[in-house]
Subunit: 253 residues, 2 copies
DNA sequence: CGTCTCGTTGAGCTAAGTCAAGGTAGGTGG
DNA sequence: CCACCTACCTTGACTTAGCTCAACGAGACG
């Protein structure tokens, strides 16, 4: 199931590495450490279940390129997606101490590769962060920051699902993705790649595919944005911010 | 705002301490450490905002008795509650390394005392967990476990909001509360105290108060449970499990 | 004996879901 | 090159879960 090929010399992972470094100031030594970790990559084809729910958590990995999502599937087939993972994000990372005991716990959700996914092992980075060595303080800060952001995204998602309308939810999620992809250099000028099917978006936003489609039409007809051939174009980003019901101050976050 | 009285010799906190100890096996020394931390308590009256959103995170605290909730309020007044906190739970705890930098970050949500809330400072416990001393391994495991459970509850909440019907959401939340309170000895025989108003429940479950009320009627009329004078009674717990759409295996979790 | 908070109920409305039928584009095999 | 999948998107018609507005009841409290 985790059919993975191993390669050397990854391509196209520069952005992810740069973004990881942007989480905190890193020393030259630390940067070298990160690059070394990214030397040996694993490629998972689209559709692969990187992590199965309930099975022991795998070692932490840094995404170098591609998209994944964390999800849970109910007994009757209903699915809820917790969030999406893009280049520069980490999966399976917990900065809890106690190396033993903390691992081998059942995963609270599955992780699914949406596109072909290139990752590298982040176990070394995690250990560097936890060894208390002052020389690795930057790595520690970067990983803390990554964990913190993941948690914040989850809280945002709870608000979306609980208290935003379908129209607001969509705008809000697209703005989050735009901001996150911009940080990795994968978005700019209001555009970004969008490999997510409407089914994935619907299962993330707690909507039916049909309704999601109709609400997207509203955005399209209002001239606020378009989604075509795997790309999102925010034609009027400020208007989308308003549509999402965000306060202007919260806009860029 | 954080009008807090300081007392010694807390009363009624035994259950919370016992439950904290149940998160992991603790040595006698560790138990003494926890008891020492619980010597000096802070009492926040109901309605107090223990932690304001956006303000620097306060030092971690262990709840000895009372209820609180973590929430976010939107610009137009809509509110989303992320979850409830009861005796034995921790608030403001992050086990990230880097003592500096990790603190002073803006809180991603507010924490509100629902009832009068008795807490004690958990900074010492946190430090004991992070100092790497083998003598504190139990504390470290207990805190990791607490963080892990909090995250799992949040994921459950996302599923509730995104993919469960109102009827299922209510049953599911009540079952979670029942399980958690049972662990502290505050619930048993299908009964537990319920200081939450219908407004709090509604803002947690992403429903309107009116609709929440009506769905509660359904449960009541079906003879599955009652909520009266601050107490929930699960008359047919197994039937509630079914109503919540949980698989039997997942029932007790 | 007002007033306040909380719970309850009715009436009517709307956001969102379901069911069902096409449409489009890329991919594969004859 | 065409014929045929298959996965995904789109649209229409209809149903329903959940919301809003509004009124009222009951207990708590000064």
């Amino acid at each position: 199931m985790i059919s993975a090929l191993r390669h050397l010399s990854p391509r196209g992972s520069e952005a992810a590495l740069k973004r990881f470094g942007a989480l905190a100031d890193l020393t030259a030594t630390e940067i070298a450490l990160v690059r070394a970790a990214a030397e040996e990559v694993e490629i998972a084809p689209a559709g692969t279940e990187i992590q199965r729910e309930g099975e022991p958590v795998r070692r932490p990995r840094l995404i170098l390129s591609g998209w994944a999502c964390r999800q849970r599937v109910l007994a009757d087939g209903r699915r809820q997606i917790f969030g999406f993972v893009v280049a520069g994000d980490l999966i399976g990372l917990s900065l809890l101490p106690s190396p033993r005991g903390a691992a081998d716990l059942p995963a609270p959700g599955a992780t699914l590769a949406i596109t072909s996914l290139v990752t590298c092992d982040a176990t070394g980075l995690r250990q560097a962060a936890l060894d208390g060595d002052q020389a690795h303080a930057g790595i520690a800060r970067a990983l803390s920051e990554a964990v913190r952001r993941e948690r914040d995204h989850l809280l945002d998602h709870v608000v979306r699902l609980g208290r935003l309308t379908a129209y607001e939810r969509i705008g809000d999620l697209l703005l989050e993705l735009y901001a996150r992809l911009s940080a990795v250099g994968l978005a700019g000028g209001g555009e970004f790649p969008m490999p997510l099917t409407q089914e994935l978006l619907a299962d993330s936003l707690g909507l039916s595919v049909v309704h999601l489609n109709r609400v997207l039409q509203q955005y399209r007809r209002a001239g606020l944005l378009t989604i075509r051939s795997g790309r999102v174009t925010l034609l009027k980003p400020e208007a989308v911010v308003v549509a999402a019901g965000r306060s202007p101050s919260n806009a860029v976050a």
